[in-house]
């Protein structure tokens, strides 16, 4: 009985749960300091997520791109690469899908796959370039990914203003994508839920399963994990480390590109002129960490983050700053960062006990 208890306490899911709990307590303290009743704030947050089917549907819409960027980062983590470049891959994905979605008008059966392929290809290329720079010239991937985030950012702002894509007199954004490129569900469903209820979440479920299978059940996944775990040992065992890194980067980039496409085709429909980085890539890092780099964990972490992001917008009703969600999210990640201390302490107690026997 006692060992069962310990097993549960030691599991990653439990640690994440504890981290979330601590974070909400910290959030409450911050709210109290700011003179806001935390119970009222959290009740508002909960109500604006679970209060109506419409709200829940919105949360899912918000979660979809986060699940994908989370998967992207999680996949890279498994291979020992830190994909801080998901942000840029997301942007080029959006951009590629927007180009196809605005300039090409085909029936939906062709249009949608074409947009997605363009986005996935763009994201993958953005990832492969970084992988190639690392493999061929030994250029630090964190450095080049930061550079490529900004190149993507300015490329997007440049493209948005091209006459062929820009919307005349319609503010700082591109034209809307054609209707056949939108993946929003038919009216019957959107009227019952929210106006942007879309097929993105279905893609997300499929992606989670596929990535799970790749990591856990294929030779490719095994090779990638081996490279992530002990690079030199993997090389000694005959795995092409360079090839593995390139493969991992392309898959990771493709996932982030997909995130951009689905956000465009299911929710935003146009690419705006950016004033600052969108943040989906960076939020993906948080999602991957909360989900313990496990595809299924990432799925739920993405839903959690999406819901928090959507719910936080309504905190303005009670004059509470929406940034409390950032503080809570940051605290969760911080707790996860130091959580293994907790695990080690538990383990030490266990071994101490065994030794004393």
């Amino acid at each position: 009985m006692k060992t069962d208890m310990r097993k549960i306490l030691e599991s990653k899911a439990m640690l994440t749960f504890i981290a979330i709990l601590i974070a909400f307590v910290v959030g409450a303290v911050v709210l109290v300091i700011a003179g806001i009743n935390p119970f009222v704030a959290y009740a508002t947050l909960l109500r604006s997520i679970f209060g109506a089917p419409k709200y829940l549907a919105w949360s899912v819409v918000y979660a979809t791109p986060l699940i994908f960027t989370g998967l992207s980062v999680a996949f890279s983590f498994r291979t020992g690469v830190f994909n801080i470049g998901a942000e840029g891959q997301f942007v080029v994905g959006t951009l590629a899908a927007a180009c196809v979605g605005i300039l090409v008008d085909l029936p939906a059966v062709l249009e949608i796959p074409l947009c997605l392929i363009a986005a996935v290809a763009a994201g993958a290329v953005w990832g492969i370039i970084v992988g190639y720079l690392k493999v061929k010239w030994g250029i630090n991937e964190v450095l080049s990914m930061i550079m490529f985030n900004w190149i993507a950012y300015y490329l997007s702002n440049y493209m948005v203003n091209l006459p062929i894509l820009h919307k005349e007199g319609g503010g700082e954004a591109t034209k809307d994508i054609v209707d056949s490129a939108k993946i929003v569900f038919p009216k019957v469903i959107t009227q019952a839920l929210c106006p942007r209820t879309n097929a993105g979440i279905i893609f997300a479920v499929i992606a989670v399963i596929v990535i799970y299978l790749i990591i856990e059940k294929t030779t490719l996944g095994y090779k990638l994990k081996a490279v992530g775990f002990k690079r030199h040992a993997a090389e000694y065992a005959g795995i092409h480390v360079n090839k593995a890194i390139m493969t991992a980067m392309s898959i990771s980039g493709a996932l982030a590109g997909m995130a951009g496409a689905l956000q465009l085709m299911g929710n935003s429909f146009r690419v705006p002129q950016f004033a600052g980085q969108e943040g989906y890539g960076f939020e993906g890092i948080t999602v991957a960490l909360i989900g313990a780099s496990n595809p299924i964990g990432v799925f739920f972490a993405g839903l959690f983050y999406g819901a928090m992001k959507y719910g936080s917008m309504k905190l303005s009703i009670i004059d509470a700053p929406a940034e409390i969600v950032d503080i809570i999210m940051g605290t969760i990640v911080f707790c996860i960062a130091i959580s293994h201390v907790f695990r080690i302490t538990l383990k030490k107690k266990k071994t101490d006990k065994e030794e004393s026997k």
């Binding site: 801080i84 720079l133 630090n140 550079m147 948080t286 940034e323 950032d326 940051g330 996860i336 130091i338």
Partner: protein, 310 residues
């Protein structure tokens, strides 16, 4: 000739405005990375510094406010240090957490303090960092553009000199570099590995905070949500680019600064899209790395928590 001198002056002026925030943060990052602690939280530490400086400057002397900005950054540096050094946390994860926490705290406090506004009150000229040789040269002249920048623009180069001296001419510097390469050997020789690392990570927060304050107390005159958008990451990139040395980081930051300066001047002419010009520093960085610099050798113990054996 006059036009060339004038434009050159403007470019130098713009360079001197955009370099200090990056360079302060990059110096901070150098400290942390060289001692073996990856600090991806520079961005967050800059943001909290930018906020603290802009708020403090409303009430106290600008130099005191500048110091407070540094201390605010140092506070998050301490947090990162506790997590990474004492608690052996994953350094990337802790840094990511700080990048969410610090801007969250800054914007939360801004809204709580200033009736829901994310911007802090605009600072008067006297509340900002002072300009050197103010009103000595005629407005718009070359001399005015080059020599009358904000004091922080000159101070940062003094800081580079100090950091260089500490790194290469003092015992402390030798220990910092050694701890980042082989903590165990240092420990055996009686060097306090934890102490050195704590010092470096806290200093990295302090310098990042100063860098952030350069934005809100010199470049701009208030804190806005868009004050710090990626400068911290560029600073980290500059450090890797500069091969983890203060002088290398300085050159890299000046490169980014000059590109920024050219952009500011060139986009006024409206000939080329400012967005394409903005891309230049990042593309140039990659090209320079491929052609000239190549591998940047990361300190051997970078990113690895050190656990004392008992």
């Amino acid at each position: 000739m006059d036009v060339i001198m004038k434009n050159l002056g403007l470019i130098i002026n713009a360079t001197m405005i955009s370099t200090p925030p990056l360079l302060f943060a990059a110096l901070g990052s150098t400290f942390s990375e060289r001692s073996g602690v990856v600090n991806i939280g520079i961005e967050g530490m800059m943001t909290i510094g930018a906020f603290a400086g802009a708020v403090a400057a409303c009430f106290v002397n600008p130099w005191l406010a500048f110091l407070i900005a540094g201390l605010a950054g140092a506070l998050f540096g301490l947090m990162h240090a506790i997590a990474c050094i004492s608690l052996h946390a994953d350094q990337t994860i802790s840094g990511t957490a700080i990048n969410f926490l610090a801007p969250g705290v800054a914007l939360f406090l801004a809204k709580a303090m200033f009736d829901g506004s994310t911007d802090t009150p605009a600072l008067a000229v006297t509340q900002k960092l002072p300009k050197l040789f103010d009103e000595v040269f005629p407005v718009g002249s070359f001399g005015n553009n080059v020599f009358s920048a904000y004091a922080s623009s000159y101070l940062v180069f003094v800081a580079v000199l100090i950091v260089w001296f500490v790194f290469y001419k003092t015992k402390l510097g030798l220990r910092i570099r050694a701890v980042g390469e082989h903590p165990k050997a240092c420990d055996t020789l009686g060097v306090n590995v934890y102490g050195i690392r704590y010092f470096c990570v806290i200093i990295s927060g302090f310098l990042s905070g100063l860098g952030g304050a350069c934005v809100t107390m010199a470049t701009m005159n208030q804190f806005r949500p868009t004050s710090i958008v990626g400068q911290g990451f560029i600073a980290i990139a500059a450090v890797i680019f500069g091969k983890f040395t203060p002088q290398g980081a300085m050159l890299a930051c000046i490169l980014f600064g000059i590109c920024n300066g050219i952009k500011t001047v060139a986009s006024a002419g409206n000939v080329v899209s400012p967005n394409l010009i903005s891309m230049i520093p990042y593309v140039v960085t990659i090209i320079v790395l491929v052609l000239f610099v190549g591998k940047s050798r990361v300190p051997a113990a970078n990113g690895k928590p050190y656990e004392k054996s008992r």
